[in-house]
């Protein structure tokens, strides 16, 4: 691995680090916010499963991000990832959850605009459409799950302490599933723009399995995310766990489960292939916004309670972050491309 590649990849790793805070907030934010899990335990589980998801299941959704804008130079990829990281960093500083998907799409569109390359509108609309569908789907899942859980607990009431125990275990297991799905769905956002330029050779790991060049790249991205999880996620957890709506531990589980199901639907190549082989409409393998899925699920629960306890002001701030993020990333990307090409003399396409 050359030093120049590492230098360029650093923006992707920075993006991973900045996204890690949001990822942790989305998967374990409610569990930690409601004090059902300690921060350290949650961060450890989150990191392990995000890396696993990224390396094992990251290829599907990553290919869609690649088709949106085929950034063909390391310098271009560096700037696009840096712009996304910058946008995420800025919004995370305000304590609001933000989406790496929206950020990287902004970064890529900035590159497209700068080099005058037409945007693959089919991929763009697929991605934009999924941003609308995914929170709605998460809200529907949350409403169904919440009703099922309530009906179950009414029919088979659990002793208070055992209910607490089972919810705790469910939060750990679902959080792990969510982290895996998140890693698989979102790793393309983090280092997907570097796949064509990655200089790795396949590595055989003790004769058990082989890590391809892309998987090694995803592994590095996953480790960067884990670093962000441990060092930068506490503030976002407070927003998810408390500010939008006070959640009971059971509702917290419903939120994480709904989020994880949505992330899984949009990331699983096996499910995609299964649906196609049975002549069913396949769910596109698109990187979606994890934050949107979580907020969608929270709103779904609030909807069941006729909006009781929902803090519209906080929700408005979150939505403003979603709109601002791709704009900041696109603008920064466009300007930085100019400097990279004209000041540093590096070709960006």
């Amino acid at each position: 691995m050359s030093l120049i590649f590492l230098f360029y990849l650093s923006s992707g790793l920075f993006l991973g680090w900045a996204s890690g805070a949001n990822y942790m907030g989305n998967v374990f934010g409610t569990a930690v916010g409601t004090k059902m899990l300690s921060f350290t335990a949650a961060a450890l589980i989150c990191s392990i499963f995000i890396i696993f998801g990224a390396v094992y299941g990251g290829a599907g959704a990553a290919s869609t991000i690649g088709s949106l804008g085929s950034i063909n130079t390391m310098a271009g990829a560096f700037v696009a990832a840096l712009a996304a990281a910058f946008a995420i960093f800025m919004i995370t500083k305000t304590g609001l959850p933000v989406s790496s998907t929206q950020a990287i799409v902004g970064g890529i569109i900035g590159w497209n605009a700068f080099v005058g390359m037409p945007i693959d509108t089919s991929s763009l609309f697929k991605i934009l459409g999924s941003w609308v569908v995914s929170p709605v789907l998460a809200a529907i899942f949350a409403m169904i799950l919440m009703r099922l859980v309530k009906a179950f607990l009414h029919r088979f009431p659990l002793p208070l302490l055992y209910q607490d125990l089972y919810v705790r275990i469910a939060l750990i297991l679902t959080g792990a599933f969510g982290a895996y799905s998140l890693g698989a769905n979102n790793i393309g956002n983090i280092v997907g723009v570097f796949t064509t330029a990655a200089p790795f050779n396949d590595v055989d790991v003790m004769g058990i399995f082989t890590l391809s060049s892309t998987q090694q790249l995803f592994l590095l991205g996953g480790i960067a995310i884990a670093a962000g999880v441990f060092t930068y996620s506490r503030k976002v957890i407070n927003t998810i766990g408390r500010e939008i709506m006070e959640l009971s531990p059971t509702a917290a589980w419903v939120v994480v489960m709904s989020h994880s199901l949505v992330m899984f639907l949009f990331a699983s190549e096996n499910l995609h292939d299964f649906l196609v082989s049975h002549g069913l409409p396949a769910i596109p393998l698109v990187p979606i916004s994890s934050s949107e899925a979580v907020i969608g699920a929270v709103v779904g629960i609030a909807f069941l309670q006729r909006g009781r306890g929902l803090r519209l002001k906080s929700l408005g701030k979150v939505a403003a972050g979603w709109i601002t993020c791709p704009f900041i990333a696109a603008l920064f990307s466009f300007i930085a491309m100019f400097f990279m090409q004209n000041l540093f003399g590096q070709p960006v396409h």
């Binding site: 409601t34 208070l160 302490l161 607490d164 275990i169 531990p249 309670q305």
Partner: protein
Amino acid sequence: MLNGKIVLFQRTKELNAKITEFLNNISEAAIIFRQAVTNYMEFGDNDDFETKLNNVSALEARNDQLRRTIEAKLYEHTLIPESRADVLELMEGLDKIVNMFEARLYQFSIEKIQINDNFKPLYEELSESSVNAVEALVRSARAFFVNISQVNDHLHKVMFFEKQGDMIGTKLKRQIFDDAEIELSRKIQMRMLCDDIDGIANQAEDVADQLSIYTIKRYL
């Protein structure tokens, strides 16, 4: 991870056992209190009564210890974060009831209260009402921990026995003060005892009101 889950199960089981013991002790203290009052009405202060008083004291001491352990465990292991404050308040309210049983028996023992024979049946009835209110409350509290849907099946009985206690207390006090033969100092002493025994049922009702709110909160 598996080891962690086993530890979690073990911890939950131990805590459940402590809460069950805490509730059993209240129930036991109520039964002993009833026996002690009957004994006092029949024989006055005697060894058997003092033994019962000591038994209630021992249960009170044990429950104080249990309550502190349960509180510490709930906080140390951040258990039931959503209901923790409610559970602690409930346990403190219940613990106060055992303190009251103990204090009333000490009242008999220290003051050696002389009760006219014609008032004794009403004092016993009053004690019975208070004990019944406490027993219904303990059943509600058990349901809160084990099967929340059954809490309300017992809560209304607490209110019933408290009201019954109020009626008996009023009747008893009227009879005491209508009796021209008794000195005012003794009348006041007997009235205070009547209020204090009735106070146990009032405390049970206060805890029942809190429990009713905790139950609604868990249903939301």
